[in-house]
């Protein structure tokens, strides 16, 4: 199949009760739009449109789906529903909220709350290697609250990575893109390969998918924290199994971050799933344990939390929540 790119719906397009404003992102499986509802409230709308199976040409609203791909297209739709189902059952400040689900243009759409901010990926790219420990602890502790909720519903995210972690303008993180949740459904359809991102997916994604569990998402959290320090994704887990070239965080950034944080990152990124933190709670506990006195020997700044913006923000926020 030749590579093809789907055309997004044009700005101003009236889609059900929403009006499209612009395209936010384009993936192999879907397009995400910024749109407004009848009250003018901004929403993000995700359109199911796998470009391997359906093509929308310039000027058309309905995609062309070759007859022989129709069963696979329908089957992929089922997976899109799985994402909707997963999100509809979750109601948590650190998880993107789904607002509506509808059919149109021979495909399906999921409407989500629109959050202002940027992805952690953008943040990392911009501040390459200059991310403070307090920031990492702040963001990931809160993000893990969301992930706990996911796991409490017996779901796995399975595609955690910095570009799926959204930072609101107030700094609080939101987990977005649950497209990989319950990927098992897709594993048998060659057209729609299980989704994971090299560098952030746990080794069991590649080898033994029966072993997928909360610890798999925890590997991804560890790899995302690692990426915050290194500025890019760590070596992919399947390659690590062959020839591990990842330098342990505890060695690579010794003296720049607290040993306890670095050890926690290494702990999450253990190749053996049984050696990682077995629950989000265990990891959260580790992230909450930060003895600032131990940092005296550290080269990095951020020693006085009151003198930086994040420290003040943090103090203000903890005052707000009363902790």
């Amino acid at each position: 199949m030749p590579p093809q790119v789907n055309c997004a719906l044009p700005a101003g397009f009236e889609l059900d009760q929403y009006r499209i404003h612009s395209q936010l992102s384009l993936g192999g499986f879907s397009i995400v739009y910024l749109a407004h509802d009848r009250d003018g409230t901004p929403v993000a709308i995700k359109e199911y449109l796998p470009n391997a199976l359906a093509l929308r040409e310039e000027g058309h609203t309905k995609p062309t789906i070759p007859e022989e791909y129709l069963p696979a297209f329908r089957y992929g739709m089922k997976c899109f529903f799985e994402e909707g189902r997963a999100l509809a059952g979750l109601n948590h400040p650190n998880i993107v909220r789904v607002l509506n689900f509808f059919r149109a243009n021979e495909t399906v759409y999921m409407v989500m709350q629109y959050e202002r901010g940027r992805t952690l990926q953008d943040y990392i790219t911009k501040r390459r290697g200059e991310i403070r420990e307090s920031f990492i602890r702040y963001v990931f502790t809160r993000l893990l609250n969301g992930l706990r909720e996911v796991h409490a519903h017996k779901l796995l995210h399975l595609d955690l990575k910095p570009s799926n972690i959204y930072l609101r303008n107030n700094g609080s993180p939101v987990l977005i893109d649950f497209g990989a949740a319950r990927t098992t459904l897709m594993a048998d359809t060659p057209m729609l390969k299980p989704m994971y991102t090299p560098g952030f997916a746990a080794p069991e994604h590649y080898r033994n998918r029966d072993l997928l569990g909360p610890w798999s998402d925890i590997y991804s959290v560890g790899a995302s924290m690692y990426a915050c320090l290194s500025g890019g994704p760590p070596q992919a887990a399947d390659q690590r199994l062959e020839n591990d070239s990842v330098i342990r965080a505890a060695e690579r950034w010794i003296g720049q971050y607290s040993p306890q944080l670095l050890e926690t990152i290494d702990w999450c990124m253990e190749l053996n799933h049984l050696k990682r933190p077995q629950s989000v709670f265990a990891l959260q506990k580790a992230l909450a344990t930060w003895d600032r006195n131990e940092e005296s020997g550290m080269a990095a700044p951020a020693a006085n939390p009151e003198n930086n913006w994040l420290g003040r923000m943090r103090a203000r926020l903890s005052a707000l929540v009363g902790k």
């Binding site: 069963p71 696979a72 329908r74 089957y75 739709m77 089922k78 529903f81 909707g84 189902r85 509809a88 059952g89 109601n91 789904v98 607002l99 509506n100 689900f101 509808f102 059919r103 399906v108 409490a152 017996k154 594993a187 048998d188 359809t189 072993l211 569990g213 909360p214 077995q278």
Partner: protein
């Protein structure tokens, strides 16, 4: 609706029976409930009685003859029963109040909906296979999920009775809901307390149920469980139902693919065989059903805010 239903409860070797069960039906809807009052807690049977009675009374009030929204019914019913048990304890100043597990199932339009809290179970059997089964809200189930324990280990684990969700406790119950499950003629659904599944284990329990005529199967399963339970046999309770209608007027051909069991034996073959049958299953009505299911889940939350 056409069905055969049978229920039985036995005290086992305990002093009192803290299990409660009930069923109720209108022309178009059916309710089945099993509740297992908690042993260590004062007056467990009161909690079980309140839960069952509350659900049955709400059913009789609302199913005239249909329930508007079976999931909403279950969610309100279980939550309110929880509150009613708390009120009971409050009024009498009981500090460590009575608690109960609860599993409840509604069938309407040949679709089953169920919800549970605790370790009383529900099974759906189709063509000799388990099509659906509730997962216990117990510590041992969590350990099994994490790969730290197998089923044999769970049967003898010292903490096998510890559950983390129930009605009447100080923490609000974690109620788990099923999917909408369309039924076919010949399907069997049964609900039971841990006194039934505990001593037998899943495998034996299902083997004993292979002749699914509920009138014969229930007493047979109970006899075996009681024997296996020995001198400390817990209360045993079971409601079972044979369903005789089929969901929707599917063309004959597609019905046969729907009866394909979705258990492990088929999944092992995934990737090798022809997956087209399961894709054809995914037709217009299935899409509509999925969308309305998702939207009702969304609404359930937004109303609560």
């Amino acid at each position: 609706m056409r069905f055969t239903i049978f229920q039985e409860s036995r005290v086992g070797r305990r002093k009192s029976n803290q299990d409660r069960m009930a069923y109720s039906y209108s022309r178009d809807a059916l309710l089945m409930v099993v509740a297992d009052g908690m042993g260590g807690h004062l007056q467990g049977e009161v909690a079980a009685q309140i839960a069952v009675q509350y659900l049955v009374e709400s059913f009789q009030r609302e199913a005239k003859p249909r329930l508007n929204d079976p999931f909403l019914f279950l969610s309100r019913g279980l939550t309110n029963a929880h509150c009613a048990i708390l009120d009971y304890a409050d009024e009498r100043d009981i500090e460590d109040g009575p608690r109960t597990t609860c599993v409840a199932c509604v069938i309407q339009d040949s679709v089953a909906y169920w919800a549970h809290a605790g370790d009383s179970r529900l099974y759906v059997l189709r063509a000799g296979h388990v099509m659906a089964q509730t997962r216990d809200h117990s510590r041992v189930q969590r350990m099994i999920d994490r790969g730290l324990l197998d089923e044999d280990g769970a049967m003898t684990h010292p903490h096998r009775n510890r559950i983390y969700s129930c009605l009447g406790g100080p923490i609000a119950p974690q109620i788990e809901y099923s999917r909408k499950t369309p039924l076919l003629a010949g399907d069997t659904i049964f609900l039971c307390s841990d006194g039934v599944w505990g001593p037998l284990g899943n495998e034996t329990l299902l083997k004993l149920f292979d002749d699914t005529q509920v009138m014969q199967a229930v007493p047979r399963v109970m006899d075996h469980a009681e024997t296996a339970g020995g001198d400390t046999c817990d209360n045993l309770t079971m409601i079972a139902l044979n369903w005789h209608d089929s969901y929707a007027e599917e063309p004959r051909g597609s019905v046969t693919t729907k009866t394909l069991p979705l258990d492990r034996h088929t999944t092992v073959l995934e990737g090798f065989g022809d997956r087209v049958p399961s894709r054809e299953d995914w037709d217009e009505s299935a899409i509509e059903a999925a969308i309305s299911e998702i939207n009702s889940a969304i609404n359930k939350y937004s109303k609560g805010q």
